[in-house]
Symmetry: C2
Subunit: 361 residues, 2 copies
Amino acid sequence: MLGAGQLGRMLALAGYPLGLRFQFVDPSADSPAGEVAPLLEADYTSSAALDALATCDVVTYEFENVPVLAVQALERSVPVHPGLRALAVSQDRLLEKRCFRELGIPTAPFFDVASQAELDRALVQTGFPAVLKTRRLGYDGKGQRVLRAASDVAPAFRELGGVPLLLEGFVAFERELSLLAVRGRTGETAFYPLAENHHADGILRLSLAPAPNVTQELTAAAERYGRALLDHLGYFGVLALELFEAKGSLYANEIAPRVHNSGHHTIEGSRTSQFENHLRAVVGLPLGSTEPVGPAAMLNCIGSMPDARAVLAVPDAHLHDYGKVPRDGRKLGHVTLRASDARTLAERLALLRPKIWPGSS
Amino acid sequence: MLGAGQLGRMLALAGYPLGLRFQFVDPSADSPAGEVAPLLEADYTSSAALDALATCDVVTYEFENVPVLAVQALERSVPVHPGLRALAVSQDRLLEKRCFRELGIPTAPFFDVASQAELDRALVQTGFPAVLKTRRLGYDGKGQRVLRAASDVAPAFRELGGVPLLLEGFVAFERELSLLAVRGRTGETAFYPLAENHHADGILRLSLAPAPNVTQELTAAAERYGRALLDHLGYFGVLALELFEAKGSLYANEIAPRVHNSGHHTIEGSRTSQFENHLRAVVGLPLGSTEPVGPAAMLNCIGSMPDARAVLAVPDAHLHDYGKVPRDGRKLGHVTLRASDARTLAERLALLRPKIWPGSS
């Protein structure tokens, strides 16, 4: 596995029962997966890393910013899933948006921006507000600026400039939903129910799954988009598709070619977790059921971990501590909350929230 | 943790999400837990083992035949749960039976047997059939002989003799049930629903949980016995109590001061697994719900592992491969099967059985 963060850690914990063995590679020695599996501290493109992974039966990655070069080198000797195509598309917001457009998946209007003059021309099309984003290396709200007025333009371009950019028209969405799709090397495709995601400061805080008030039409549209992407990308593994809902329609925001934070609820909330299904998919085992066990909520622990005693005193709350050193804005863990019905879930959520996010209500 | 077998492995996998870290000690380097956590290959009573464990916050054990001496030495510097008392009682069938009797828990009549003459006298009381057992080191049907006629007596005594023995009257039971009880350092006590266990050649093959056709009276009696044991033994952690059901009454067979094979279904079948609850109990976290998610079955893989593809093609089947080298009669893994209702479970069980036990029907 390329990358040894919390996603890698949860993949390893899901894979051991299947009889799988892991080798992680990460440039950082202080990586959550290294606590539960062998970790080689090395650059992804180093010969040490490539040699170690070339002896594996299959290689996968836990984040989309691993160098394409490393995957290209590995593909000569070992299957890598999801493949190069998914990686390349998800590393570049422009390729990603073009891919949506090509597949007939609605998305916000977007414009390739290489200069202030191009930005000015694009803004005529989008109007204000609009979102200026770096084409590469953006996550958790990083590498983007909202332009609300003409006076925002020059400073934002300066701050983000020097790298290729993209201007997106603003979608006045009511909520963010995400779809987790999975396709196995056996040929099966499965979808988890849509999750509803709530952010603060650009970071996911809360997911509700299955998302409340989702029509059959909405689910059908999301799954149609997901299937088109899996097919187009020749994809094996879990794919996350972030969507905006606006006036009953869905707009694709971005994809992640990996397990996703908005799918962490599946560990306790689904018959088979996203982690287990990703592994089943990439090693060629049959997929497990994506059916929910009941309504669930996932709450991220950011910057500091809550008191475990307080969290676990809430009925059917499940703690996931990634074993990371606390730092402001860092995802250190999450808590999954389950209940047999939506009302009980809401009651328990009211109990749990202040224990995880002091000061929130 | 003393012992690094599959129980230790599953405890570690359940403990990582809680933010726990593990150090295992086992005389064998080829131990399933060693694949997922640091393992010190050493005798339990070696100073290397005792020094390594003395630096931990809490020590527990994954099987009941660890030397009492090791636990006595450790207790001077670190809390060990479940404690010395539970360990001593469960290591000696005579102490165990006396403990049942003292607590008013029905059990088969039993007699301490040190000589052939004592055995003959005891057989007058029990009649045939009766079961002759070694007082110590018995598990999975080992260290016992059924005496069906006078001609069985001398050979059985010779075979088992040389060590302290116990003669037990035969209980003509209809089925074996097991209770998993857990008490936390927080003071809470919880019980999983009774499981129904099926053996072949003295080894557990199949557990059904919750056990079908269990009356409220039966559950209440089992939980009364479980609670009496937890209290009497000053117990923290998961305790397994094996029971025979005969004509609507329960007879205690034996206890195991640890997580138990008949509780493996709780990983997917319960809101909180026995492994997680054992850890929560011994480290002082609140216990999790022991409520079942739905009906479940657990099938042991003995001697050889089934084809993973075939197993996982059965809906809601979950594979647990312990990563062990195959050997006749060795527990190599298990499969948990779930369903939303008993009928569907039975249908899926019919699909799954031949994949795990070829030749069974």
